[in-house]
Structure formats: C-alpha cells, structure tokens
C-alpha cells in the first residue's frame, strides 16, 4: 500500500527527468552556438554552428548527456529531503561532507562532470579533440613519439572539479532541501519565472568554479599531468606553453570555453534539480474519505498519520491546508459523520494528528529550554555529545565571573550577584541573558573535578582550530529545532481554518468537542515559542541568500511559525468571539486567551 502511494513520488520524479531530457537539445544547441562564437566572422560562425548541430558528434553527445541527466535525476530523488539537517558546529558540517553517502554522491558527480566536459570538448573540437597527438616537428624528428594534449586533460579535470564542487556546495548550502511554495502556481509558470535566475546563477557559479579551478591547476596541475604521462607513456610537449603557468592560463579563449562548458554543465544539472523540486512539491489532492475499503490507506487522515515517507506527510498537510481554505465540499466531508455509526472519524483523525504534531513541537522546545537553562548540569557531561560543544566564549565568561567573586557561595547569593551586576562592567549585557544567568551557578556547585575539566576545556577552547571546529554556530541550533516546522505551520493553518469554518459549516458540532484541547495545545505552544524567542540568537535574522536555488526557507521557519501561530489564534478568537468564554480551560490559559481577544498579543 505504501508503495502505491510512493508511486506518486516516483512518477513525479520521472516526469521531471523526462522534461529535463526534453530540454537538453535546446541547451546543447545553445552551447554549440555560443562555443563557436566569433565577433569578426559572424556568417562563418552561424554556418559552422548549424553544420555542427547536424554532426554525429552532437547526436552522440546528446545520448550521453541524457544518461548523465538520468543519473543526476536519480541522485536528486535519492538524496532530497523536506527536513534539512542543520549542522550546529563546524565539525558536524565536516562530518556531513565526509559521510560515506555523500562521498558516493561526490564521486559520481565528479565522473558525470568528466562526461559532460568530454561531450563539451568533443562539440567544441579543435585543440580539445584528442588526448595524445604526435609531437610537433622539432621534438618528434626521431620517430613516432606521442605527446600529451594538455588542453584535453585540463578540460576533463575541470569537469571533475566542477562536479565535485557542485556536490560539495550542495551539502554546504543544503541544495537537497526541497521547500514548498507559499503560493500555488502552475508548474509551467513557476519554471518560467525561475529560469532566468537559474541561468544567471549557473553562469556566476561557473565563473567562481573556473577561478577556483585555475588556482587549483596552477598549484597542483603537474601531479595529474605527470601521472597521465607515465601511465599512458606519452611525453610532454615542451614546445607548447604549459598550462600551470601564468601565461598558459591567461589564454582568453581557453577560459571562455571553460566557463561556457561549466555553465552548460551547471545549467543542465540545475534545471534538472529545479524541475524535480517543482514537480515533487506540486499540491496533491488526497481524497478525504473513500467508500471502498481498499482505498482507505490513500485517504487524507491515513496518510497524515503515517511517518514514512515524509514527503507524503508534508503533501498531505499541504492538502489539508488548501482544503481548509478553499474547498467547501471537502470541508463538509471532514465534518461529516460515518455511515453507519455516526462517528466523526475523519475530523478526529485529522485533529488528533495535527495536535500531536503541535504538542511534539512544544515538548521539543521545552526540553531544549531546559537543556539550555541547566546546561547539562543534571547529567554527566560526556553522556550527551551535543551539549559538550558549548560555546567556549560563554564558558570563559562564567569562569571570569567565578574568579572575580570569591566569597563563599550559596545559591541565593549567587542569584543576588547575578541580579546586581554593575551595569558598567563589560559583561553586563551578556549576564543579562538567561543563558548565562542559569549557567553561572553550575560552575560553583560543581565538584572540583568538574571544575578542572572545565579548565582543561577552556584551555583547549583557546586553541584556535578546536575552537573553530567546536564552536556552536550562532542560531544554528534554533534553526535545527524548527527545521521541520513547515509541517507545524500547515497543521496550525489547517486546523484553525477548519475551526473557523466550523462556525458556519459544522452541522453536527464535531469540532466543538475538540475546541478546548485545540486551544490549550496552541496556547502551550505559544508559551513555548515565546520563551524560545527570548533565548540568545533565537530572534536574530539570518543572512538572506541571493539565489533561488540555495533555498534558505528553513532558516526563517521559526519566524513563520510564530506568525502562523498568532494568526491561527486570532482566527479562532475573531470567529468565535465572546463564545470562547464558555469553553473549559485553565485560568492561566483563559488569561492568555483574553489577551488575544483584546488584541494585545
């Protein structure tokens, strides 16, 4: 049954690859056209380009490139994720890069890169034509010595380099993260809107790659050259310029071809990625209920409650959000009672799933706050690796606080001390944050052994490299905490829209029974989110990425969640108004709700 639903994903991916393959002749023709560019012989340029297009090399290259796109498409499908993994430290990022799965990705992409540049070299022809050629006259008088064509090697290596850097940047920039659009445009218009940006991005990235590759080749180019020469038993042509020299690399035509091939490579791959994202995130309409028992597993309530695959759960939540907003008939199905029995199974299942998602998030936030507050005091430090890598800066700060205040401590005096820090002292601002305030007592109540450990750690932290690797990236933990919050946002929107619609549309009153628990779950989450935003770095805005393909939606999901939560609360209070006073809830929640009803949140 799961397979029948996963088939949707598979077919979407297949369709996206099919479209990328269909677009391949267009990009290839453009490439062939531009590669022959010459300003002073336009007619020759155009006629040459056209004759090239009908050549057998181009046809063969196209077949090969189709294979490459297919492989890239398969890798897109295998490696995509809807919940990005956010590394909290540099060392975690390093681990991500060196992960075996990632190594396979990099290796395959390097090979694909070689294939693409081989095709490009074949299409450009000329001096990139062949690996080894008979040596030029003054060398080769003695006989049939073969010399290495360094341009050819340079080009193929560039392909490997670009393939690897594509894979590497993919990890660093979370290119495998698939985010959902805020508005539902049709696929063609989305693609059309994004295409100019993708072309520009590919061209710019290719420029950077060429720069990096030239630097790389300048310093290390002799290694592969020598290796090729010895294995294939060819000679280096001393009459030509070597390419790992400044004069060799300042060949404008070579750089132009390199850049163009790099743009071609990145463009085909980026288009494949873009089409994959567009196809996979298209809204999918699940049936709310089905009269056939074999189709029940395809229905919205069932899909919502499943954990795997995650993309289907996300699509189901998106569908819930859309139906709650746009479709009266499907909402009526949600509010309907089962025949026979008269139970609101659909609503109960949907509501239960949404509420469990929201309370999971509250739980997660509360746990995180406890960990930050206690800073792992209750448990031995070695047991949880994540907290071990605390910021050495704040640790150092606590130690400084320890050293200036030397009278015997009781916890109350500590609190007093922390409360009365002289505003003129340099760490006034940082001590004000709850992060350090709660961390302070930890070091004093700690045993001497722990203190020594802290000293050792502090000492180690001063070593630059270790500090660099283990330092927590600011706000990364906050981003990681909310990495899957798109699901929560849809759950909030869907639930609140359904509750608001139930005011007029729910004939059996099925929603009313759940209203107290919905309100209390949302208010609990509101409290947890409010507390979270008081932590350091939580409310600092991330740097906006400039490009469409580097999706940084996940970096701002916590702000989106906060906004969605307030909107959801207001939607319910605006719709029900004074009627909410008759809903059972605790005094604290009632007070909070009153704030919303008076528009003071």
């Amino acid at each position: 049954m799961t397979s029948s639903r996963s088939r949707v994903i598979f077919w979407r991916a297949a369709a996206s690859v099919a479209w990328s393959v269909l677009l391949l002749p267009v990009t290839t023709a453009l490439f062939a056209f531009l590669s022959r560019f010459s300003l002073f012989h336009p007619i020759q340029w155009i006629s040459e380009s056209f004759s090239l297009l009908y050549g057998s090399y181009v046809i063969f290259s196209l077949v090969l490139l189709c294979g490459v796109v297919l492989v890239v498409g398969v890798f897109n499908l295998e490696y995509y994720t809807v919940v990005p993994s956010v590394p909290c430290t540099k060392i975690a990022l390093l681990g991500k890069v060196l992960h075996p799965q990632q190594s396979v990705h990099s290796l395959v992409h390097s090979m694909m890169g070689i294939m693409v540049t081989w095709c490009a070299a074949t299409m450009i022809g000329g001096r990139y034509w062949i690996l080894a050629a008979p040596c030029s006259e003054e060398e080769g008088v003695t006989g049939q010595k073969m010399c290495l064509n360094e341009y050819y090697l340079f080009f193929l290596l560039a392909g490997a380099f670009m393939g690897y850097s594509y894979s590497l940047l993919g990890v660093v920039r979370n290119m495998n993260y698939v985010s959902f659009q805020t508005i539902q445009q049709c696929k063609y218009l989305r693609f059309k809107g994004m295409l100019p940006q993708v072309v520009r991005y590919s061209a710019v990235q290719s420029l950077y790659s060429v720069r990096n590759y030239c630097l790389f080749y300048f310093f290390f180019g002799y290694i592969p050259r020598a290796w090729i020469c010895t294995t294939l038993n060819v000679h280096e042509d001393s009459s030509l310029h070597r390419l790992d020299t400044v004069s060799g690399l300042l060949d404008f035509r070579l750089l132009y071809h390199l850049w163009l091939s790099g743009t071609f490579l990145l463009l085909t791959w980026h288009i494949t990625l873009l089409l994959f994202r567009i196809f996979i995130t298209e809204a999918y309409s699940f049936p709310v209920q089905s009269s056939f028992s074999e189709d029940v597993s395809q229905c919205l309530p069932k899909v919502l409650s499943e954990k795997q695959p995650l993309i289907l759960k996300f699509l189901a939540l998106q569908d819930l959000f859309l139906l709650s907003q746009q479709s009266l008939s499907r909402r009526m199905e949600v509010f309907s009672l089962s025949q026979p029995g008269g139970h609101p199974h659909n609503w109960n299942a949907i509501c239960k799933e949404c509420l469990s998602l929201l309370s999971d998030l509250s739980q997660r936030l509360v746990e995180y706050q406890e960990v930050v507050a206690s800073n792992g005091r209750a448990r031995p430090l070695s047991s949880h690796s994540d907290q071990r890598s605390t910021s050495s800066e704040t640790l150092g700060m606590s130690l400084q606080i320890l050293s200036i205040e030397s009278r015997p401590f009781s916890s109350s005096s500590v609190n007093r001390f922390v409360g009365n820090v002289d505003p003129s002292s340099p760490w006034y601002g940082s001590v004000q944050s709850p992060h350090v305030m709660r961390r302070g007592p930890k070091l004093w109540t700690a045993s001497t052994g722990r203190l020594k450990f802290a000293h050792v750690k502090n000492f180690l932290a001063r070593r630059v490299l270790i500090m660099y690797l283990f330092n927590k990236l600011p706000e990364a933990s906050s981003q990681a905490l909310f990495a899957d919050s798109q699901a929560h946002i849809w759950a909030l929107e869907g639930l609140s829209n359904l509750v608001a619609a139930s005011y007029k549309e729910d004939r059996f009153g099925v929603v009313q029974t759940m209203l107290p628990s919905i309100l209390s779950t949302m208010l609990l989450l509101q409290e947890a989110v409010d507390k979270h935003f008081k932590l350091p770095h939580a409310s600092s805005k991330p740097v906006r990425s400039t490009c469409c393909l580097e999706d940084s939606t996940f970096k701002t999901l916590r702000f989106a969640l906060r906004a969605a939560l307030k909107t959801a609360m207001y939607r319910i209070t605006v719709t029900f108004g004074e009627h909410l006073h008759s809903v059972q809830m605790s005094a604290e929640h009632r007070k909070r709700l009153q704030q919303f009803m008076e528009y003071k949140e």
Partner: protein
C-alpha cells in the same frame, strides 16, 4: 470595455439631494438622511468616538525636496572618485554612475572616459525615451509617480498621505507629510510615532489582518512592516521593530494589499511589471510577472480572498484569482483603471477608469472555493452610475458637482458606497466632493442616492475609508485638505440581517416607509441593464 451599453441615459447625481448650506458640515446619517450642522453637539455619544484629529499643513515639515537639489547641498564633494561612484551606483544604478563620471573634472579621470560616459548616458536616455513613449509614466520622477497613482487626491501637497483602520480593533494609523506615522488607539492614551530612515514618500498603509501589531507601509524604495507592540507604552518604537522588504527594481511602491487571511502581502510598483507576493516572516517574495501594462499601480484584494484587482498604468487591468494565480485581462477603452472596490462577498467589483465619469461593475458568478477552475465572470463591464457634472442651486448660488472618480470605498456590510469625485482645481464652484450611494447586493444589485458629505468650509476631501466593523451601520473616515480627519457615522439597520454584530441595536428608529419612498429614486438595478 467592449459590449458596454448605457441605456439608462441619466445622470446619477441629479437625483441626489443638494449639498448642505455653506458653513455646515455633514454630521451623520440617520433616518435615511444626511444631517448637517455646525457642531457635533447635536448628537449623543455612542461608546468610543474616534478622535477627530487636525494636522495643520504648516506644522509638518516636509522632506519632499527634489532629491538632486538636496544631494548637492549635503554631499562632501571632496570625496574620492571611487567613493562618489560607489554611492552613485548604489543610489541610482548605472545611469547615476555614468552621470557621476561624466561630470568629473579632468584631473580626476581621463578625458576619453568622461566623453565616453556622457555618450553612453545619452544613448541610454535615448533608448529609455523609446520605452518611455510606450509607457509615459516611466519618465516621471518617483515622487511624481506616487502622486499620480496614489488613491489620495493631490498626494504631494496633502498633510495626511495615508490612513488605515485596524481590521479588528478600534485603532488607526495615519501617515503624515513629514514621513512619520502615528497610531491612535481607543484603549490607550499614548499615540506612538513611527519613524524610519527608509520611510519616505509613504503611499499606502495597511494593517495585517488576524494580527494585532503588524502594519505594512509602502515607501519610496522598499516596503516596511512595523511590529508595534500594542501593550508597549513607548511613544517612539525603535526602527528595529520594522522589517525591511525590498526587491531590486521594485520601487516606488504605490500599493500594498494583505490577503484577508493574513498570510501573504502583495506589493506593486508602477515601474515593475511583476507584482510581488511576499512571505513576510521569511522575507522572501515570489514575483508574478506579466508583461503588458508597464507596471502595476493599484491592488485590491477581495474580502473573501479569492480574487485580486491589479490595475496598470496603461488602459488595462487584471483580475487575479488566488488559487493558482492566473489572471484575466480586462482592456479598457479610455484610460487606466484608477480605483476599484469589492463587495463584501467578493462577487462584484466596482471600478472607475481615468477619463470617464462613470462607475463600472463586474460580476463574478462562480462560488469561490469550489474546484473546476474559475470562469464565471461576466463578459463585459456594466455601467452602474453616471457621475457627469450636475448643477445644484443652493442658498449660496450654483454649485456644480461631478467628475472623475479618485477613489471609492464600500462599507464592510455592502450598504454604503462612498465615491470621491475629483473637482476642477481651476473652477472654485466645482470642488472635489464625496458622493455616498446606498447599495444593496442581494438578491439583486441596486444603487440608490444617499447624499453628499461636506466638510468645513474651504476644505476639500482627499482620502476616505470605512471603519471595518462599526456596530451601528457604517462609519466613514475622511481626510480633508486642511489636515482634518473627521468621522461621519451612517446609522442604519442592515438589510441583510445584522451579520457583523448580533447584539447591536440601532440608535435611531428606522421608519420602514422610507425604503419605499426611495424606490422611485432608484439609480441602478440589475434588471434594467
């Protein structure tokens, strides 16, 4: 507008009661009549009264000097060429850079460079003049552009430049000539003043629905979203409370619209053919590009959230549906669409076209929210009101009323339609006027005359907006040319049942016979067209 038939052949304004005598101001509507008087004392107070504010033009220092003149006065010209070039590039792009280099002295740059730059600049201007002849609005300076496309009459000289009621609570924001925004709240005495470095030439304000604190501001070269904590006692919220949303090439922003469910924000600029759909929390945007029209000037989101009106500087406007964001093109014959407003149920759009003194209506028949696409709009717009000039003889002599529509507002119950008519600045006996119609939406669309709203003598209306949830009828807020903001209540019993406020009772008994009396003065019904 192909297929428009104008059969009634009568002037709508001629059926209006004449405007009140000079020196009187319109106080309120009751018993189906607009009551004029000299002071507000004749009416008992009903709960919270929105404050009638006065911002004298003289008390506000405008920053609105032409940019080029002030720039020369303040910039230190001893900066290095690099610094000046970088600044010119940042401020006004390529043309600014070329201009800067072309005006350099010979010691700083070689002569061939200045000459080259001035030639390139000339070429650039020549090319852009072609573009400008296609779309003449592109030749305007950005401040003139805002004035041209703003909903405010005579925007550049108006003390109050934008006004916005909060959709849920008794709170409003006013943007003034000195680029500050003030917020007045019924529940607190403090009136916070919002100022920001980027907050210049405010063209529009709108509060985010389903939120207490977020206020979107359309500025000179960006959008600002202020988060004003309603519980805070601070009178000057810091500029850290404002989110800056900007997109290259998307300035000046002349119109903004929040989706009624508060999730998306639309923004439009007359120089950008794309309208932006903002995810405010994520500070990201999706451009919705449609070539044709040369830009987007005015946006209005239907109250049910299913459609958006987007007008362009050319004789063309679009109606977008918000499910998959596709649009219908509506070419006009005469001029661009100046303004428009939606009926509360989102099925009917009233709009006016520049150069014509009529109000058109478009009907969308399909129920929003159902699948099977959307198609059900009518094939042509129908004229519902003719606003051509009419003379009234009052005690002070002849008054001529009528003209093109500057802006329109429909009250949230769909019972009153206020239309701001442009007067003739040359003719003193033809001032700008507010005409108020009574409207009915169901079962059929009807338009009846109500009356003219008059302000203090010498004051012309500039801007109008209805209170979004006035319990006893409708409350029209008008900003006047003398800096006065006044509120005119219309007391009536809602014909379609009191949907908005089940508990509210009308303050004035309404005789049923009046409705019949009005029947013979009917201006427009759907039957007749």
């Amino acid at each position: 507008m192909s297929g428009v038939s104008w059969e009634l052949g009568m002037n709508s304004l001629s059926l209006f009661p004449p405007p009140g005598p000079d020196g009187n101001i319109t106080l309120f509507e009751s018993n189906n009549e607009l009551v004029c008087g000299t002071s507000l004392g004749s009416r008992q107070k009903q709960g919270w009264e929105p404050p009638s504010l006065l911002f004298p033009r003289e008390s506000l220092k405008p920053h609105s000097r032409p940019e080029s003149s002030s720039k020369a006065a303040f910039l230190d010209h001893r900066d290095t060429l690099w610094m000046r070039s970088a600044r010119a590039w940042r401020d006004s792009g390529l043309s600014g850079l070329l201009d800067e280099i072309a005006n350099c002295t010979e010691e700083e740059v070689p002569r061939w460079l200045t000459v080259g730059c001035s030639w390139t600049l000339a070429l650039l201007r020549w090319v852009s003049s072609f573009h400008g002849s296609l779309f003449p609005h592109l030749t305007l300076s950005s401040e003139d552009m805002v004035a041209e496309f703003s909903q405010v009459l005579d925007w550049s000289d108006c003390a109050v430049r934008a006004f916005a009621w909060h959709p849920h609570t008794d709170k409003f924001a006013v943007s003034l000539l000195d680029d500050s925004i003030r917020i007045y709240n019924s529940k607190s005495a403090t009136a916070p003043t919002l100022k920001h470095r980027l907050q210049r030439n405010v063209a529009a304000l709108q509060w985010k629905p389903l939120c207490a604190s977020a206020l979107a501001v359309a500025c000179h070269n960006c959008l600002l979203v202020w988060h004003v904590d309603p519980t805070s006692l601070s009178t000057r919220p810091s500029s850290g409370c404002a989110q800056v949303l900007s997109h290259p090439g998307h300035c000046p922003v002349t119109s903004i619209a929040w989706s009624p469910n508060g999730s998306l924000l639309l923004s439009a600029s007359p120089v950008d053919t794309a309208m932006m759909v903002w995810d405010v929390a994520g500070e990201s945007c999706v451009p919705l590009q449609r070539v044709g029209g040369g830009g987007v000037t005015f946006l209005s989101w239907s109250p049910d959230g299913s459609r958006v009106l987007a007008s362009t500087p050319s004789a063309l406007f679009r109606v977008w549906e918000t499910r998959t964001w596709t649009c219908e093109r509506w070419p006009c014959l005469k001029g661009r669409c100046q303004t428009g407003c939606w009926s509360p149920d989102g099925t009917r759009l009233l709009f006016s076209v520049q150069g014509e003194m009529v109000i058109y209506a478009l009907t969308f028949t399909d129920a929003p929210g159902e699948p099977h696409g959307w198609s059900g709009s009518s094939k042509a717009a129908a004229i519902v009101a003719d606003l051509s000039e009419t003379s009234f003889s009052t005690s002070q002599g002849q008054v001529r009323v009528g003209g093109q529509v500057q802006t329109m507002a429909w009250d949230p119950r769909g019972e009153r339609l206020a239309v701001l008519l442009k007067g003739d600045p040359e003719a003193p006996d033809r001032p700008a006027m507010i005409a108020v119609f009574k409207t009915r939406i169901s079962p059929i669309f009807e338009l009846l005359p109500c009356g003219f709203v008059k302000g203090e003598s010498g004051a012309e209306p500039r801007l109008l907006q209805f209170h979004p949830h006035f319990p006893n009828g409708a409350l029209l807020t008008v900003c006047w040319s003398n800096g006065r903001i006044s509120h005119v209540p219309f007391f009536f019993v809602s014909a379609g049942g009191s949907v908005l406020n089940p508990g509210g009772s009308p303050p004035w008994p309404l005789p049923q016979s009046r409705a019949v009396e009005n029947g013979e003065r009917l201006l427009y019904t759907e039957m007749s067209s």
